[in-house]
Amino acid sequence: MSEPAHRPTTRAALSSGSDRVFQVLILALASVIVLVFVLSVYQLGREAWPALHTFGWHFFTGRTWNPVEGKFGAASMIAGTLVTSLAALVISVPLAVASALFVAEYAPKWLANPVGYLIELLAAVPSVVYGLWALFVIAPVLGRWQTAYFLDPANVPTLTRCNQLWAEGQTSLQCFFVPSGAGGRGLALAVIILTVMILPYTASVARDVIRLVPADQREAMYALGATKWEVISRAILPYARAGILGGVILALGRALGETLAVAMVIGDSQEILKSLWGNASTVASVIANQFGDAQETLHRSSVVALGLSLFALSVIVNFAARLIIARLTPKGLQ
């Protein structure tokens, strides 16, 4: 009798009146997330426009950052950000993975939980507290070592040669590792503190993915007569590498944007890097150290442009992480 009506179940059909009101409300609140993103891009873009418009690509490639002359090129701080982040990453990844292996594979349960918890707490320590500790505890240690280096007569020839090079605005591989100041502050200290700060991110992700490695992968390797280390290096780490890489990229994202601890210890110099021990700056540290004092429009705009670059960089890192994880994840692990 009646035609079999074709009824796709649309949303309009499935919600009653009050449901629609609630959904609109939830959607409105959830849209704040979209709004925050859009507003961030718009506001940063608008404020950064004068600088980007004035300097164009030279804003990123220019080596001079001189508020007095009104010239702003961010090359030195971009280099500072990349060098500190990558160095910290290189040092921290083996340590982080090792600690994850300890927690997941070696430690008995009564020890694994507290150690895992301590590592998580490392991530909870505020940036300023790391900065304070680095400034008051590690800087003096480094400073003593630097002073000892300067006072050692055997180092005088090297120092003379490097001082000459540095004065000409140059450096060499050897001189890059020669101390250039005695206060303990500088790029090296920034790398040390960054290393400590990003350790927990890689470590806790690595621990989680190592725990997810199926038992049969381990057992298969043990059944072949492998030692514990062989099981780890040939079964567990290959299986978990995508996830670990995800943790590494998460840590990289943190390192690139890490601000106050670095700003407190790196020495805030915008000169081109000549020694690992010298004063330097990162994109984030310049924002923290200069934005408050930036009075002229162009200076202020240039600092905001740094912020916009960091914003863009973190978005890129986020997408890179997804891409890599999607590519490398073994089938079956979603």
């Binding site: 949303r11 959607l27 300023v128 507290v129 304070l132 280390w229 905001v304 986020n318």
Partner: protein, 289 residues
């Protein structure tokens, strides 16, 4: 005899070769050493702050404002009050938007905007805190000047993605059949979500909010150009406000011993509160499971 020899050699050695044995032990030892290196800073920092800061955590610390530069005494009441007030304001934004965002992602997976919201929430989670400070600066401070509200806004923005993620995760742990049971009783979806699903996930959501609070409570970078700081106690959110991490930053970079002492005491207080919050959050989530 030739044959017997061939058979034995094809089989792996019955005993572990010394090289493999030593390598195994060595790597185990290195892993232990690395783990000690990883946790050492945490312990060193805490012990250092206890030694240097505990003495300054006296009654004055909690009841007075900083003494003028170079003078002895004073406390960080201004920072404690500012931190509490800004965190409370930030929580309103973070919890409201974060929980709603989590509900949206978990309960309306078919909505066309869902993938966008999920992606942007993830992206926001990776934005450096100082950049959020710049955003709040250009949104509020450029128009109305430095204020606690601007600082709270930046902190709230930072809380949102953390709360979104945990809320979504715990909501998804509530079985579908519980939702269906509610709907089959003739209850509208929103009643089911608010009165049945949300209470079942409440423990996890509280954990997420506490972790988010612990994370932003220590942020000074986004407050530098928003809340700015204030050497006296200010409860008016439209005016500059201080915060514990801000005072720690100023004190640690100050030349005066007295400011450094307050900074260390402040750091001890802050880190203790953050650790306690994380501990409680962890406990809460464990009880739920």
């Amino acid at each position: 005899m030739m044959r017997a020899a061939a058979v034995t050699s094809a089989r792996p050695a019955a005993r572990l070769s010394p090289v493999r044995r030593v390598k195994n032990l060595l790597m185990g030892a290195l892993i232990l050493l690395a783990t000690l290196l990883v946790v050492a800073p945490l312990i060193l920092i805490f012990v250092y702050l206890l030694r240097e800061g505990l003495g300054a955590l006296n009654l004055d610390f909690f009841t007075r404002t900083p003494a003028p530069e170079g003078e002895a005494g004073g406390g960080l009441l201004n920072a404690i009050a500012g931190s509490l007030e800004m965190l409370a304001m930030a929580s309103v934004i973070g919890v409201l938007v974060g929980v709603a965002g989590g509900i949206f992602l978990a309960e309306y997976p078919r909505h066309p905007l869902m993938p966008t919201v999920r992606m942007l929430s993830d992206v926001l989670a990776g934005i450096p805190a100082i950049v959020m400070g710049l955003v709040a600066y250009s949104l509020i401070v450029l128009r109305f000047g430095f204020s606690g509200l601007a600082g709270a806004l930046a902190l709230g923005f930072l809380m949102i993605p953390i709360v979104v993620r945990t809320t979504e995760e715990v909501l998804k742990l509530v079985p579908l059949s519980v939702r269906e049971a509610g709907l089959s009783l003739g209850l509208p979806q929103w009643v089911v979500i608010l009165n049945i699903v949300l209470p079942a996930a409440a423990g996890g959501i509280v954990t997420g909010v506490m972790l988010a609070l612990a994370r932003v409570a220590g942020e000074a970078a986004p407050l530098l150009f928003t809340a700015f700081g204030n050497s006296s106690v200010n409860l008016d959110p439209t005016r500059p406000m201080s915060a514990l991490p801000l005072e720690i930053y100023r004190g640690a970079t100050s030349a005066y011993d007295e400011n450094q002492r307050l900074a260390k005491a402040g750091a001890l207080l802050l880190i203790t509160l953050i650790f306690l919050t994380s501990l409680l959050a962890r406990r809460a989530s464990r009880v739920k499971r």
